[in-house]
Amino acid sequence: MNYLMNKLITFAAGFLLLSLALAWWLDARQPLAVEMIPSLSGQPEYCLTCHADLSEISSSHPVEVFGCVSCHGGERLALDADLAHSTMRGGANPSDLSVVESSCGGSNCHSGSEAEGRDHIQRVMTSIQSTYAGAIASIRYTFGAQLDLNPIFGIKPIIDAQTRTGITALGAFDPASESHPSIQQFGENCLTCHLNADPLEGSAYARQTGCAACHSTAGHTFTTAIPYTQCNTCHNRGNYDLRTMNFVERGDQPVKRIDDYYQPIAQFTQCEYTLDCVDCHTRKEAMGDGDIHANQKDIEYVQCKTCHGTPTEAPLTKTLTDPDELAFRLALLNPVVDLQIGDTILISEQGEPFWNVRHLPDGSFEMVGKVTRQYFTFRPVMESGCTQSGEDQSSAYCHGCHAVE
């Protein structure tokens, strides 16, 4: 009996040692934790244990300063994927507009003062790209749900206490409470373009939501050098069928810009299909100016004359004298131009700097493509052979002579 018991004890002791060895082996199999203490938070985080292969998001968000958690959230100490990711903001996209204030906000970041040009979140939230107010008002007006084109609803409710447009607030558009079937259809099928929404399932023109919809062109990157293909993910991915109130996605990928635009009647000058959209269209046009607008046309103001002037007026320029000028900050984010104090750059009617367009001593202008880094030179219209009246200078008139087809 004792003999059997001693055998059992020996066997169990051996098994206990084996299970201890197993526990040690399982522990040793865990990946070596990679610690990072970003200077902004001063708190250790271990995301790089698994994500060391991710590229730095952008040169303005260096990982040794920002780390991962200050933008993404998450459990910074956890080495279990489920727990570590459980409290991430916006899933993999912290710039989603539902969480953007916590992820990207802060007075020193992207919800600072308008004077310092750090009010990006306020601008985007109120922008037409986010509210979709113009399209909603237009459809509701068309089908008799409202008496005029003044916007009442946006995708999400928004308030603008310091409005300069007179529109102080938008309520939330609720297709279910609309009585006209076409408006309901519109609500169901056509709300996938604004920055709050994911694109349609299976879309070939995949994009993200929030800031990343424009600024993240591929993988874990953020850039201000936004190629036209990124704009195309919304602006050239199909069209509405107003009869059935459906969005009809195009099935092909545009290859040749001049031919592959979805509006067959559109006309383009050379710069419109050679340059990238961001070379001409400004941050206020794209991201809003902090006010709620009724329609896209109310915020879009750059035209041919902004760069080229008219037969009677030269384009507006500004000589840079202050190193704190916004133009320098923008040029730093996307260093395609070595901008210097004393350089004269083009500015818009609203004073927005075209920091990539410099006035040369010979009177011509030199533009550097923000994405392509190509150099283009052009002369102002004034003193050219252009006979167009100074009063009629919208783009449509320029297209009359200068459209390629």
């Binding site: 001693n6 299970s19 526990a23 522990d27 934790a33």
Partner: protein, 368 residues
């Protein structure tokens, strides 16, 4: 010369602590001395005791050691508690294993003490002079439940907030003294914001100290009451006894097997963990009580929180406490035998209570 004598003395002193078969050394080692010289063979069998009492002591030892190790890293303030748990789990060398051992030993302890209680009732081992020790054991059982609950709360992550609020608010429902009890348990302020240091103190001192004292008292009373429950000598059919050496061997084997089970559980099934609590979490976080209180949570769905959350559970323990006093004493010949006829009513009451608790727990796990 001196060194050799010192070494021999050291070896001799240490070897005296260890189990030995040396017949010349008549005086038992420390560990052997903790056991009676002989034990009735019939009642020393595992199929009689289920090894539950001894296993409970061993688990308490494991919980104590692993708990002390965790205290080196655990930070009992509401800002850092959950993060320190994550630090222990993921970054302290073998911290995850230690935490998992602590967790699993605590869960097993609850099960083992419940089994011990059932065994004592089903073998009529609570009768006569042992009924005071039965009450000590019941008090230990309640303290262990509270230790499990406070330990669960010390995670201080999103998973524990709502059970904490529910559990502590139940105290408030007690007529007359509810608010005082709440203040004693939680202190001022909301449970999820200010109570951590209280629960920490309850867990580490307020409950552990009574458990240590009562456990020693309980074990002492087992010896003082004549060792393991057994019929009087003239009523026994089997008079054989086993030596303390044999008893220790059986205990060693049990300890090894439980050790293996614990290590395997701790290696493959991690203790629950959730994101750090940042203020009171929204109700989207599943508000589920720890498994040993699921039966109470299920009853709380039925109505008055005092009746279903306090009165009935306390009443249940009161019924258990009164078993040795209200039911007829078991026949002396039945003491120390499984399922004797003479204490059938007590067996039926405990079986019904156990089945109700299991059924309520099962019900609470069904999808809503």
């Amino acid at each position: 010369m001196y060194g050799g004598r010192f070494a021999r003395s050291l070896v001799s002193d240490f070897s005296a602590m260890l189990p030995t078969k040396n017949k010349k050394q008549m005086r038992p080692s420390f560990f052997h001395h903790l056991h009676p010289p002989t034990t009735p063979a019939a009642q020393a069998r595992w199929r009689y005791t289920l090894g539950a009492g001894g296993t409970a002591f061993f688990l308490m030892l494991i919980i104590g050691v692993t708990g002390i190790l965790e205290m080196f890293y655990y930070i009992p303030n509401s800002q850092e508690a959950a993060l320190s748990v994550q630090m222990i789990t993921y970054h302290v060398p073998f911290g995850g294993l230690i935490r998992n051992l602590h967790y699993w030993a605590a869960q097993l302890l609850l099960i083992v003490t419940a089994v011990h209680l059932v065994r004592v009732v089903f073998t009529a081992a609570y009768s006569r002079l042992r009924r005071f020790n039965y009450l000590l054991g019941l008090a230990l059982f309640i303290l262990i439940i509270l230790l499990d609950f406070t330990g669960y709360i010390l995670r201080w992550d999103e998973g524990v907030c709502w059970p904490l609020i529910t559990g502590t608010n139940l105290l408030k429902t007690i007529p007359l003294m509810g608010n005082y009890l709440y203040s004693i348990a939680v202190g001022g302020g909301e449970a999820c914001s200010s109570a951590l240091i209280r629960f920490y103190t309850w867990h580490i001192f307020g409950l552990v100290l009574p458990v240590v004292v009562l456990s020693i008292w309980h074990a002492f009373r087992v010896r003082r009451d004549g060792g393991i429950a057994v019929p009087p000598p003239d009523l026994r059919t089997d008079h054989s006894r086993i030596s303390r050496d044999e008893l220790v061997r059986r205990e060693v084997l049990a300890i090894l097997m439980i050790g293996i089970l614990l290590i395997l559980l701790a290696s493959f099934i991690p203790a629950p963990i959730a994101p750090a609590m940042m203020g009171k979490p929204g109700l989207r976080v599943e508000a589920r009580a720890p498994w040993f209180f699921l039966w109470v949570q299920q009853m709380l769905k039925w109505g008055d929180p005092f009746i279903f959350g306090v009165a009935i559970p306390l009443g249940l323990f009161a019924v258990l406490a009164f078993i040795p006093y209200i039911f007829p004493q078991p026949a002396e010949s039945d003491i120390g035998r499984w399922l004797p006829a003479s204490n059938r009513p007590a067996q039926i009451v405990v079986s019904v209570l156990a089945l109700i608790i299991l059924a309520l727990t099962g019900l609470s796990l069904l999808p809503a």
